[in-house]
């Protein structure tokens, strides 16, 4: 475990963020069967460390663009849970007034101009935000979150080229969880890895352990520092694994989608437990500290879900509002 050497407050901030995502996603798993969240959910359980490691290094004004699997990124970026929960419940008080659902989380005030469910779509949009930041010279940077599947889309290549050409303040963050829906990596790509693509554009690129929060924090920090100081884009490939099925709260190995022992190996490398163990091992915090954080988070999540369920439905008469 590459455990980060950081002040206690920062270590706890990371723990809190990691746990917030974990508990929020678990709450969805718990409640999804009630069929009140009438929107497909793509959970990031097992992948939380990437979101936290990257977003904890960003300023609130920095931009992230996410995908269908966006909960973790948005939570780590600071988006209030109420806005997310209410959107999942299709309410007017949701971040998109119920128009977007789970796949289109948005929070401009937290640097989230939106999320797209079209694979690969987030990448050029983030490049555009980076261009915008560069033109406005406002010191912001942009992050494109995307999956291994998205790295096969032409938009990835087109964005790498453009970002390299203009030395954009942009971080390409690929969460390689080795599957796109149920298609394994090797059915879709030769075994060269995704980071290998960056070299063709002269973009600093690394492959790193996405389940080790310390590693993500460090690698992302270096890339962000480079971007912010005019050093141009970086490509970060984080290897990780999703615990649940592609969509919905269930596991998928029983259905034959993936081998069970593969999942088990990755469960042993749970990013949350690894970080928690490291934290306790560092001697800087006690179990009680962490339990207190968790308790607070559970209240925060209770509040978000209560808020969502108590919120009004959008008025069908407003159906045609916000089209243009």
């Amino acid at each position: 475990m590459n455990f980060p050497n950081l002040p206690q407050s920062e270590l706890l901030r990371l723990y809190e963020s990691l746990t917030r995502i974990r508990l929020f996603e678990e709450r969805i798993v718990e409640r999804y069967h009630e069929q009140e969240m009438k929107t497909p959910v793509h959970l990031c359980l097992g992948q939380e460390a990437v979101a936290v490691g990257v977003c904890s290094r960003l300023a609130r004004e920095d931009y992230i663009f996410s995908t269908h699997r966006s909960h973790g990124h948005c939570i780590a970026k600071g988006m209030p849970l109420r806005l997310i929960a209410a959107e999942l419940y299709g309410r007017e008080s949701g971040c998109a007034g119920g128009r977007g659902g789970s796949m289109h989380l948005v929070a401009p005030d937290w640097g989230i101009p939106g999320s797209t469910a079209i694979v690969g779509g987030s990448i050029p949009l983030a490049a555009g935000a980076a261009l915008s930041a560069k033109m406005q010279n406002n010191g912001r940077i942009a992050v494109a979150f995307f999956g291994d599947g998205a790295s096969e889309e032409g938009s990835f290549h087109e964005s790498l080229n453009f970002a390299a050409l203009h030395a954009l303040p942009l971080i390409f963050v690929c969460e390689n969880n080795f599957y796109a829906t149920n298609s394994p990596f090797k059915a879709r790509q030769p075994e060269c890895g995704i980071a290998a693509k960056g070299a063709g554009y002269g973009i600093p690129s690394v492959t790193a352990d996405g389940n080790n929060l310390g590693t993500v924090y460090q690698v992302a920090g270096e890339a962000i520092e480079r971007a912010r100081s005019g050093g141009g884009p970086s490509l970060l490939e984080f290897e990780t694994y999703r615990w649940k099925g592609h969509v919905g709260p269930a596991c998928d190995f029983e259905a034959g989608c993936r081998p069970k022992d593969e999942l088990e190996r990755w469960l042993e490398r749970c990013p949350h437990r690894l970080y928690r163990d490291g934290l306790l091992g560092s001697g800087q915090v006690s179990c009680a500290d962490l339990d207190a954080i968790e308790r607070n988070l559970r209240h925060e999540i209770d509040d978000a879900f209560d808020f969502a369920r108590a919120s009004a439905w959008p008025d069908p008469a407003t159906l045609l509002e916000h089209v243009c």
Partner: protein, 346 residues
């Protein structure tokens, strides 16, 4: 050429919602598609299937389930997430002796490949003076509901019907799902087969032997005298329900299932409206420059003097699809809306 042995079925005028003569076997729309693919793969070595995850346990909502095991993963191929490139790959294979069936889980992914579809596939035969054909079939599925929202629920047939050089078919019954798909695979014209997810569980009579339905012929699903209801895909069933409802108050509606939006069976539509004097068109897609516009325009050209009421168009609302259930319900047309619209025409 195995296809030449199969009798093409124009099907015009037969009400396929009634049991087919002599056909007792019922199949779901899903299984009808699967059977068509299985038969095509079995009979013609040039046929192969390609699509994201088509060989996985789900098998594209069941429509390709088990086919990889039966025919091998070289002929039932998974593919990278690269829709435009892979459309080009499939097209290149089609130009050089193969008959690929490219499969998309959602119609929404077709805009990714518009360049290859619109600029290449649709134009290749013409640009080469007919010397190189592109016998490519593209299947794509439109869904509805459960908060899938703007990027996972589109019904984009009009974008393709607009472009010469393509056929676009939209089966509403299991029988047509099998026949239109086999017709597309057997033909030499690039064809989009647009399916509707909400029809997948519907069952109906489907002959076991392969049969081909060519693009371009609609069918009258129900005869009537007072109003012509024209629809495609999922909306045909809604029109049938509406027609039943209207019959209870003495209104006799004729229901036409277009089956094919390009070519369009103009004569079938015009003849019906010349008889009934009224037209309502129901589409799964948007109104502006949509299928409903084309049908209305054809009637304004060919049967304007028969019209005794304003044409009505029943389409999805003029907005991207919202996620929230309450907005979804307001967005999609329903039977009540159709019935009310017809009453307003009389």
């Amino acid at each position: 050429m195995p296809w030449t042995e199969i009798q093409a079925d124009s099907g015009r005028g037969r009400a396929n919602f009634e049991p087919l003569q002599g056909c007792v076997r019922e199949l779901s729309y899903r299984d009808a598609i699967r059977e068509a693919l299985d038969q095509a793969l079995t009979r013609d070595p040039r046929v192969f299937l390609i699509g994201e995850g088509i060989d996985d346990p789900g098998g594209v909502f069941g429509s390709t389930k088990g086919l990889a095991e039966l025919h091998g993963r070289e002929r039932v191929m998974d593919m990278p997430l690269a829709e435009n490139g892979l459309t080009g790959v499939a097209a290149g294979a089609a130009m050089t002796g193969m008959r690929p069936v490219l499969i998309h889980m959602r119609t929404d992914f077709l805009p990714m490949s518009m360049d290859q579809i619109v600029n290449h596939v649709a134009k290749w035969s013409y640009m080469t003076g007919g010397s190189v054909k592109v016998p490519l079939t593209i299947r794509a599925i439109t869904g509805r509901g459960w908060g899938s929202a703007a990027q996972h629920s589109q019904s984009l047939q009009a974008l393709f019907a607009h472009v010469p050089g393509l056929h676009v078919v939209m089966p509403a019954t299991p029988h047509d799902a099998k026949g239109l798909l086999l017709g597309a695979i057997a033909g030499s014209t690039p064809t989009l087969v647009l399916e509707h997810r909400w029809l997948y569980d519907r069952t109906g009579p489907v002959p076991e032997e392969p049969y081909l339905i060519g693009a371009g012929s609609g069918v009258v699903r129900r005869g009537g005298a007072d109003v012509t209801l024209v629809g495609v895909s999922y909306m045909v069933g809604e029109l049938m329900l509406a027609a039943g409802e209207l019959a209870r108050t003495g209104i006799s509606a004729e229901v036409i299932d277009l089956r094919s939006v390009s070519p369009l069976d103009e004569e079938l539509i015009a003849a019906s409206v010349r008889k009934t004097g009224r037209l309502l068109v129901a589409d799964t897609g948007w109104k502006r420059c949509g299928i409903s516009a084309e049908v209305a325009a054809v009637v304004a050209e060919r049967a304007f003097d028969a019209l005794r009421a304003p044409v009505r168009r029943i389409c999805i609302a003029d907005c991207p699809t919202p996620a929230s259930h309450v907005l979804e319900q307001a967005c999609y047309p329903d039977v009540d809306g159709i019935v009310a619209a017809v009453r307003g025409m009389l």
